[in-house]
C-alpha cells in the first residue's frame, strides 16, 4: 500500500472506492464477532467461501466477515444484500440453500427468519425487528458494513475524514472546545466530561504526554467495548489520534485485556494498516503531526481497568491503584500528563468532529449526551448489545428492545454498572438511564452491563455473588477493600446460610459506608454498591433470611428444602437415578421420599421430574 500524503489523496482514494463498494451489489455478510464466532460462525463463513468457489460465483457475489451486530443470542447472523435479508442461527448446512434461493433468486427462506417472541411475526430485515427498531446505532451501526481487517472498508464509509478535518481546519483548542460543547462524558462509568479532561491534560506541564484507550472491560456480563474494538478498531484509533492532536501527545496505548484475543488481533492489524497508509505514525497526512500507538495486553486483573492501576500495569509494575489526589491528567503514565479514555468514548470522538457538537448534543438528556451501548443480558427474551440514546427508560429497554421477561415471569430488578453497580427495583423502571439519575438511586453507569433479573432471583444471593467476585478481584492494597470485602462476604454467607443475625445486618451497612468513604480506588469505593442498593430496595428479603430463616425466591440452599409430593409422584424412579447423593428412596410405582440429611439441594431431581412432584420450599 502506498502512503497517503495529504487529505486530498485520502479523499481521492475514498472516491475511487465508492463505486467499487456500492451497497446494492449482491453481497453476503457474516457476523464475525465473538458471539457469532462461538456459535460456529467461522464454519458458516468457510462453507460460503467453499460454495461460492464451487459454483464459480466468487467475482459476482461478495462475501464479507463483519463486526458484531449486537444480536448475539441469535447468531450466527447472515445478512444478504442488496435486499438486506437477515437470517439468524445459520448453520453450515443452510449455506447451499441460501445461495441458490436467496442470493440467486431473491427468495426468502422463512425458516431462518427471526420470529418475534411476543407477536409471533416474522421479520425480514433488521428494521423490521423490535430489537433494532428501538435503538439508535450511531456507534455500533458501522459494524454491520465493515470488515474489521480491511482499512479500505472503513475509509469507504468516510473513515479518517474526521482526522483530516481536525488536521486541516481545527486547532487543538478548537477540538477541545468542540468536544466540550458536545457534552461527551466518559463512557467507562465515571462520566467525567471528556473535553474538560483533555483540557487539563493539554494545560498540564510535562513532556511527552500520553493518550490511553482503556479496553480492560471486566464486568461480568458486559462486552460492548470488546465488540466495538473487534468490529471497528479504526474508529477507536481515529478517535485516539484526534485526542492526541488535541492534548499534544504523540504516543498512545491501547490496553486490552488478555481475555480478548480477537480484539487484540484486530486492533493490531488496524494499527499496522493505518501505519502503512500514513494515517498513524510519523507526519500523518503530511501535516507534521506524529502519533504512534502500541497495544498492551492486560495482566488478567479486574482492577487494571482502574486508570492508575492500568498505568502501573503498562509500566510493568503490579496492577495497583495509587491515590488520585493529583490526577492522572497531570501525573499519569510514567508520571507524565496522560489522558485515559474508554473505548466507547474514543469511538464517539470522530462522530462528534464529523457531524458537529450541535448535532451530537441533541441526542440524550440535559446532563448526558449521545448514545450508550449496553450489554442487555439476563432473564430477558432478546439479549445482546443495544445502543440507545441516553435517557431511554428501563421500561423501553426491557419491554420494547428486550422483548420482555423470559417465560412470562415477573421482573424483579435490573443490575446495572457491573459488580460495582447497583440493583434497581422494578418500580423504578420508568426512570431514564443517564449518569445522574443512576447515581441518585445508588448505582452507576459502569461500562454498560445490564443484567435483568426475574422473580426467581434472590437479592441476597446476588449481593453475595458480586461481593465474592470483587473479593477475588480486589488488589489487596488498602484495608477497607481487602478486609472489608472478606468480612462482607462472610456476613452475606452467614445470612444466606440462615445463620444471620439482626446486628450483622447493621454491621453490614456500617461496613459498606466505611468501604465507600475510606477505600483507595473506585473499586473499593463502589464495591459496597450491590449490598447498599439491595439493602435499600429489598430490605424485606434480608429480613426474611435473618428473622424467618426463609429465602423468598427459594434460591439460598441453606434455607430451602426439597420434598416429594406423594399425590403427584408416580414412582417412576427418574429422580432416584439422577440424585448424586443417593438421598432419594422409594420402590417402583410408589411415591418416593427425600432424605433431608443426605440431600445437598442441587435440584437435579426437580429438573428431572416430569410430573412436578418435587417441591422446593
Amino acid at each position: 500500500m502506498r502512503a497517503l500524503r495529504s487529505v486530498g489523496e485520502l479523499d481521492a482514494a475514498r472516491a475511487a472506492l465508492r463505486d467499487q463498494r456500492r451497497l446494492d451489489r449482491p453481497c453476503i455478510t457474516i457476523c464475525s464477532g465473538t458471539g457469532c464466532h462461538a456459535l460456529e460462525g467461522g464454519k458458516v463463513y468457510e462453507a460460503f467461501e467453499e460454495e461460492l468457489r464451487k459454483r464459480r460465483l466468487g467475482d459476482r457475489i461478495g462475501l464479507k466477515p463483519t463486526g458484531c451486530r449486537g444480536f448475539c443470542e441469535r447468531g450466527p447472523i447472515v445478512v444478504v444484500r442488496p435486499q438486506g435479508i437477515l437470517y439468524q442461527r445459520v448453520e453450515a448446512g443452510h449455506v447451499p440453500d441460501i445461495i441458490s434461493r436467496t442470493v440467486l433468486k431473491g427468495e426468502i427462506i422463512e425458516d431462518l427468519l427471526y420470529v418475534d417472541p411476543t407477536t409471533g411475526e416474522k421479520a425480514v430485515a433488521m428494521g423490521d425487528m423490535a430489537f433494532y427498531r428501538g435503538q439508535e446505532r450511531v456507534i455500533m451501526g458501522d459494524n454491520d458494513e465493515l470488515n474489521p481487517g480491511d482499512i479500505w472498508d472503513y475509509i469507504a464509509i468516510g473513515g479518517y475524514g474526521a482526522l483530516g478535518k481536525v488536521l486541516t481546519k481545527m486547532t487543538p483548542s478548537q477540538v477541545i472546545e468542540e468536544i466540550k460543547l458536545s457534552g461527551l462524558r466518559g463512557r467507562g462509568g465515571g462520566g467525567f466530561p471528556t473535553g474538560r479532561k483533555w483540557e487539563s491534560c493539554r494545560l498540564a506541564k510535562g513532556e511527552p504526554k500520553y493518550v490511553i484507550c482503556n479496553a480492560d472491560e471486566g464486568d461480568p456480563g458486559a462486552y460492548s467495548n470488546r465488540s466495538l474494538l473487534e468490529g471497528n478498531p479504526h474508529k477507536v484509533l481515529e478517535g485516539m489520534a484526534i485526542g492526541a492532536y488535541a492534548v499534544g501527545s504523540s504516543r498512545g496505548y491501547v490496553y486490552v485485556r488478555t481475555e480478548y484475543p480477537l480484539a487484540t488481533k484486530n486492533v493490531q492489524i488496524a494499527i499496522k494498516q493505518a501505519g502503512e497508509l500514513g494515517l498513524l505514525g510519523r507526519n500523518i497526512l503530511g501535516f507534521g503531526f506524529d502519533f504512534s500507538v502500541k497495544v498492551v495486553s492486560g495482566g488478567g486483573a479486574f482492577v487494571c481497568g482502574e486508570s492508575t492501576a492500568l498505568m502501573a500495569s503498562i509500566e510493568g509494575r503490579r496492577g495497583e491503584p495509587r491515590p488520585k489526589y493529583v490526577h492522572s491528567v497531570t501525573r499519569g503514565l510514567w508520571d507524565k500528563p496522560t489522558s485515559l479514555n474508554n473505548v466507547e468514548t474514543w469511538a464517539n470522538v470522530p462522530l462528534i468532529i464529523e457531524r458537529g457538537a450541535e448535532w451530537y448534543s441533541q441526542i440524550g438528556t440535559i446532563g448526558s449526551k449521545g448514545t450508550k451501548v449496553f450489554s442487555l443480558v439476563g432473564k430477558i427474551n432478546n439479549t445482546g448489545l443495544v445502543e440507545v440514546p441516553m435517557g431511554t427508560t428501563f421500561q423501553q429497554m426491557i419491554y420494547n428492545i428486550g422483548g420482555g421477561i423470559r417465560d412470562g415471569k415477573k421482573l424483579k430488578a435490573v443490575q446495572i454498572g457491573g459488580p460495582s453497580g447497583g440493583c434497581i427495583p422494578s418500580h423504578l423502571m420508568g426512570m431514564p438511564i443517564d449518569y445522574d439519575a443512576l447515581t441518585q438511586v445508588g448505582s452507576m453507569m459502569g461500562s454498560g452491563g445490564m443484567v435483568v433479573m426475574d422473580e426467581d432471583t434472590c437479592m441476597v444471593d446476588i449481593a453475595r455473588y458480586f461481593v465474592n467476585f470483587l473479593k477475588d478481584e480486589s488488589c489487596g492494597k488498602c484495608t477497607p477493600c481487602r478486609e472489608g470485602l472478606y468480612q462482607m462476604a462472610e456476613i452475606l454467607e452467614d445470612i444466606s446460610a440462615g445463620r444471620g443475625t439482626g446486628p450483622q445486618l447493621e454491621l453490614l451497612q456500617q461496613l459498606a459506608d466505611v468501604m465507600r468513604d475510606a477505600s483507595l480506588c473506585a473499586l473499593g469505593q463502589t464495591a459496597a454498591n450491590p449490598v447498599l442498593t439491595t439493602v435499600r430496595h429489598f430490605k424485606d428479603e434480608y429480613e426474611s433470611h435473618i428473622h424467618d430463616r426463609k429465602c423468598p425466591a427459594r434460591v439460598c440452599r441453606g434455607l430451602i428444602k426439597y420434598s416429594v409430593d406423594p399425590g403427584k409422584c408416580t414412582g417412576c424412579g427418574r429422580c432416584l437415578k439422577v440424585c448424586p447423593e443417593d438421598a432419594i428412596k422409594g420402590e417402583k410405582k410408589k411415591p418416593h421420599e427425600i432424605d433431608p440429611a443426605r440431600c445437598i439441594k442441587c435440584g437435579a431431581c426437580r429438573d428431572e421430574c416430569k410430573f412436578d412432584a418435587v417441591l422446593k420450599v
Binding site: 486483573a301 482492577v303 503490579r318 495509587r322 491515590p323 489526589y325 493529583v326 473479593k471 477475588d472 478481584e473 480486589s474 488488589c475 489487596g476 492494597k477 488498602c478 484495608t479 477497607p480 481487602r482 478486609e483 472489608g484 470485602l485 472478606y486 468480612q487 462472610e490 446486628p503 454491621l507 456500617q510 461496613l511 466505611v514 468513604d517 475510606a518 477505600s519 483507595l520
Partner: protein
C-alpha cells in the same frame, strides 16, 4: 509556604509537606501503620484518614498521601473521620489479632469490640518491609504476591532470594512481628488490658508490656480518673 486550616485554626505548612506532616508538626496525633518517615508513601492502611472540606462535598483522604495547598481545610477529629478510622482498625485487628501494635492502637482509640470474624493472619500487609528492602536497602528481595484476601509478601517463587543480604531491615520495620501482649486475661480478639484501671501487665509479668510511646500512653490513668471501667463491660459480654 501555604496557609491551611487545621481544625478551624489557620496554620502554615511547607509546600512539600504532606498533610500528615503538617498535622504532626502541630502536635496532633494520628494513627499510622504503613507510613514511615524514611520511606515512600503507600496509602494502604487507611488509618490516617482525615476529613477534607471544599470541593463539591467533604471527603475522607489519607493524610499521608495528600499534598497541602493554599486554603485546604482539614478536620482531623471529626466524628466521621474518627469512626471511620476506628472501623478500619477493627478490620485490621480482625485480620491480625496477634499484632501488639494494632492492639495498642485499639486501646488508644478506645476500641472495645471486634465484631468481625478473626482471621489470625500474621502479616498486616502494610508493605513497609517491601519498601525498606527496595528503597533503603536497594535490594527488592521481597514483594507482594497474589491479590485481594490472598495477598502475601514473600520472595520470588517462595524460594531463598539471591537478592537478600540478610540485613534484617524487614524484621526491624515490621509492625506485626512483635507478639501480642497477652495480659492476664486476654481471651477474645481484643487484648484490651490497657483499658483496665491499673497497669495489669505488672500483675502477670516482671516488666511493663506497654510500649505505646516513649512515655506512658496514659490511657489507663485516664480511665481511672473518669471512674469508668470499660473493661467490666466487656467482661459481662464474655
Amino acid at each position: 509556604m501555604v496557609k491551611i486550616k487545621l481544625n478551624g485554626v489557620e496554620a502554615w505548612a511547607q509546600d512539600d509537606w504532606s498533610l500528615l506532616d503538617a498535622i504532626r508538626f502541630y502536635g496532633l496525633n494520628l494513627p499510622t501503620l504503613c507510613h514511615h518517615d524514611g520511606l515512600e508513601e503507600y496509602g494502604g492502611c487507611r488509618l490516617c484518614l482525615v476529613e477534607v472540606e471544599g470541593g463539591s462535598r467533604p471527603r475522607l483522604v489519607t493524610s499521608c498521601t495528600h499534598p497541602v495547598w493554599e486554603g485546604l481545610s482539614v478536620r482531623t477529629h471529626s466524628k466521621w473521620a474518627v469512626e471511620t478510622r476506628k472501623l478500619v482498625l477493627e478490620l485490621l485487628l480482625a485480620r491480625c489479632p496477634t499484632s501488639k501494635t494494632l492492639q495498642d492502637m485499639g486501646a488508644k482509640m478506645g476500641l472495645t469490640e471486634v465484631r468481625f470474624k478473626p482471621r489470625y493472619e500474621d502479616c498486616v500487609l502494610c508493605g513497609l518491609c517491601v519498601r525498606i528492602c527496595k528503597e533503603q536497602m536497594r535490594s527488592g528481595a521481597i514483594g507482594f504476591v497474589n491479590r485481594g484476601e490472598d495477598s502475601d509478601i514473600t520472595t520470588p517463587f517462595d524460594a531463598a532470594s539471591e537478592e537478600c543480604r540478610r540485613c534484617g531491615g524487614c524484621m526491624y520495620i515490621c509492625p506485626a512481628c512483635q507478639s501480642r501482649c497477652e495480659g492476664p486475661r486476654a481471651r477474645g480478639v481484643l487484648c484490651g488490658s490497657c483499658l483496665s484501671p491499673s497497669p495489669t501487665c505488672l500483675d502477670a509479668y516482671d516488666d511493663v508490656k506497654c510500649y505505646m510511646s516513649e512515655t506512658a500512653c496514659g490511657t489507663c490513668i485516664g480511665r481511672l480518673q473518669q471512674g469508668g471501667t470499660r473493661r467490666s463491660e466487656s467482661d459481662r459480654k464474655e
